[in-house]
Point group: C2
Chain length 551, copies 2
Amino acid sequence: MWQNKAEEKRQSLFDAIPTDWILSKDISDSLPKNLTKIPLNCGILSSLDIEITEIDEIEELADRIARGRYSAVDVTTAFCKRASIAHQLVNCLAEICFVEAFERAKFLDEYFRSTGGKTLGPLHGIPISFKDQFEIKGRETAMGYIGFLGRLAERNSILVESILQLGGIIYVKTTLPQTIMAGETQSPLLGVTLNPWNRSMSSGGSSGGEGALVALKGSICGFGTDIGGSIRIPCCVNGLYGLKPSSGRISYGYVKNSFDGQESIASVIGPMTRSLKNISFLLKSILDLKPWLNDPNVCPLPWRNDLFNEGQMKPLCFGVIRFDQCSQLSPPVQRALQMSIDALEKSGHQIVEWDTTDFPQAIEMAIKLFTADGGKDVQEALNLSGEPLLKTAIVGKPEDEISVHQYWKLNAMRRDFLLKYAEKWNQSQNLTKTGRPIDGFLSPIHPLPAFPSDFPLSAGYTAVFNFLQLSLVILPITRVDLQLDREIDSYRNSTKLNEIDEVYKNFYDDPEKFENSPIGLQVVCRRFEEEKAIRMAMILENALKSSFYSE
Amino acid sequence: MWQNKAEEKRQSLFDAIPTDWILSKDISDSLPKNLTKIPLNCGILSSLDIEITEIDEIEELADRIARGRYSAVDVTTAFCKRASIAHQLVNCLAEICFVEAFERAKFLDEYFRSTGGKTLGPLHGIPISFKDQFEIKGRETAMGYIGFLGRLAERNSILVESILQLGGIIYVKTTLPQTIMAGETQSPLLGVTLNPWNRSMSSGGSSGGEGALVALKGSICGFGTDIGGSIRIPCCVNGLYGLKPSSGRISYGYVKNSFDGQESIASVIGPMTRSLKNISFLLKSILDLKPWLNDPNVCPLPWRNDLFNEGQMKPLCFGVIRFDQCSQLSPPVQRALQMSIDALEKSGHQIVEWDTTDFPQAIEMAIKLFTADGGKDVQEALNLSGEPLLKTAIVGKPEDEISVHQYWKLNAMRRDFLLKYAEKWNQSQNLTKTGRPIDGFLSPIHPLPAFPSDFPLSAGYTAVFNFLQLSLVILPITRVDLQLDREIDSYRNSTKLNEIDEVYKNFYDDPEKFENSPIGLQVVCRRFEEEKAIRMAMILENALKSSFYSE
């Protein structure tokens, strides 16, 4: 029975948590809506554990380890404890490797000692978490499927290997939805992963385990994947920073996936973390290893400072996306967008409205490509255990299946769309005052600030950028504010454009439902312009800060 | 009737050639086996035409134009005339745009005059030829299909546009086989393109029109395409230099193709020309235009001098490929390979034997991917006119068709093969004396020095590198020599390994059959290492020269 196997796996995760790190019944029986303060007050973390895990900057933490202030074991202890607490609060872990993590930490401490204070690399002693698609040698990669239990990885994914080479520590893998094709995180295997800011809401998906874990500071940085919004939606609803790079920038080598071999719209890997500087630091560190020598699918593009600096030209011109032609933005998301626009304009940057009338065509093609196998890949995986299919998964039905001949034609249409889009982008030079085409786009990620599990997905603001192969950075902008966001009627009572728009507007009946929910936006640049997107997100964050302090 | 349409098209090509440029009956009735001297002696070319078209180096020709020694009209006249002669000798042109070429040349001369001697770009006044997959606005792109006649291109291909932007002149498009999936150049539309060195042989394919035209010096450089050997085989049998870059280096934007949208093994574009310096000059010039801004499928990799310089490290280590596990090398090709090895070793470079036992697996996957649509794409194109399918075309039959689900699995197998191959390459560090993995491979291109039309194709030395997405450069090494290559029995009488090997060995019954046939080899580097491959080919060419002079 698949239920027994799932139960066994869940139990094994709890068994891997030392009893000292189990929340008291008092706490677990009376959890508040917002769970983010519990790690600090539950009595399990020492003041050192708190000090360590509250540091947002990887470079700062690495520097303290490198100067001997914390040992790798100290840091590993702190994160293993806080990740354990997080798992008990929101159900975010899919694999626990504490034993190996401490072994590794001891090795690093010994290396540090015996070399008179040398570090193995820029991530020496830093625990890094991974979504449960990554392979860790000897461990399961269940990927949300009960049928995949028991298959032990024969080798580490290339990125896992890179993190080790940089001195990092592997300690947990995180939850994802069955099929990976959902905007939430739920599976018959591991159940639902909750949102730490509001446990009646979903942690988003598909990288929702990472989103929840990093938000609870059980990780300083984790790696998720994104094929239609799977890094962005969890970053957005958990208040995190993230990078969805272009395919071909970070190695997907030996990372498991649904629809393995579907290359028309490639899933990509990116960090989900607590600062923009972490993103640039990690990307640079990974690229310094020349991953293209191990994975020919990675383009030999080193970290490019000139492109990073392009992101600080002044003025920049941002194209703004206000409507994906399907789902209107709820008031707090509108507010986040307008705050950002105002702050950028106040800092001297230009904003131009961007035409999105071609978005639905892109989304339609994307869905046809995702479902082109008629759902056979997913069905094959489900058949292994007999478990039921997740209701919210976006996967093909038998009637969606097309022939390879039709599939190739669809690929050609997609390519032509991308060529036309590049032309449209280049022609935006006529809209700007900079003498250049638009530098990047400012776009919402999701129409609502938060949503529960089993909720229909609107991916029109996210999947379109996968389809277009663009690089982008996510950053948190604001939170739902019961004062500022008390007006709900204009959105709620406006014309319902379609089924999802109707569900969303009906759901938005009370701002209190969304209290504290973070709202993030994405800064979108051209393919392979990750460096520029990071810098432009920094510009936006600084503009918001100075705008805040000047008010 | 498709026959009439074909006849009409052929006639229209001859009609586009001015009568003064038509070969006399004397000459055309008594053509020798080797046609390469006819342009010089047929009386059509002036001494200026000959002087201009005999220049092999684009930079030299461009320099003479830039210094006013030749006008663009002079150069256009010379190449239009010589291309016309070539077409009458070997049937290599698919589209003739002389009128537009002279208009363009006059414009360039006027620009030069009115600016007091400025050029429009580094190719100012240089005519460049294109295989008949490229789109020239207002012109047909028949692509070897009668059914495609009458469809006029709505815009220029991105590369055509780039060549114009660099100051180049568009004057002809060249023949290719129906389906483009053949190692020869033949179609019911335009017939057979012959080999200028030996008119009983094929000009190779699929870029055989370019191969023949450039060999007859009716073009200084043309652009072909390669998905399994289609640049290399014609370069090899016509004695030319060429580049098969990685996909994502030169834009394929708005270039027509068979199996359009088949992206698993991407067809790529490269120059076919008369020197290695032309290749670096052209690639650099094209990349200087930042084609990635117009085509997101192009990686933003500028010309990299550091990588070019990596190709001149000393000693280099070349892996040598002697056998693709399917077709043994005929003696002249063996000799070309051994000459190269000896010359490199004499110059202080290291040679290591490379294991190719995994080649057949790659070829098997490649064929499955190429035929995955069951031949529907080709059938659709044939149905437009009712013309018959070319016998030698490698296209799917209905029974080859697979589902999208199986296609994705095949993609995943291919990707895993590439990852394993990178690992194998990296581990070759243990075989070298350089402290690095093998720098690049030296490989044959075809087992025979030449072959006629309607001959079965052995693509085991070429298609494997498309499958592996590697970058490579072709260069001519030697020619069949009736003295050196008189021994035929060891090859001819050796065990026939399979049907093709048997056909080849039986065909190799007399060295005179192959007299004068050029033999080329390929230097293969990693994906996106075009600069290094060019430099390593230069090293090989220099080693051969100094080896020759020291004997």
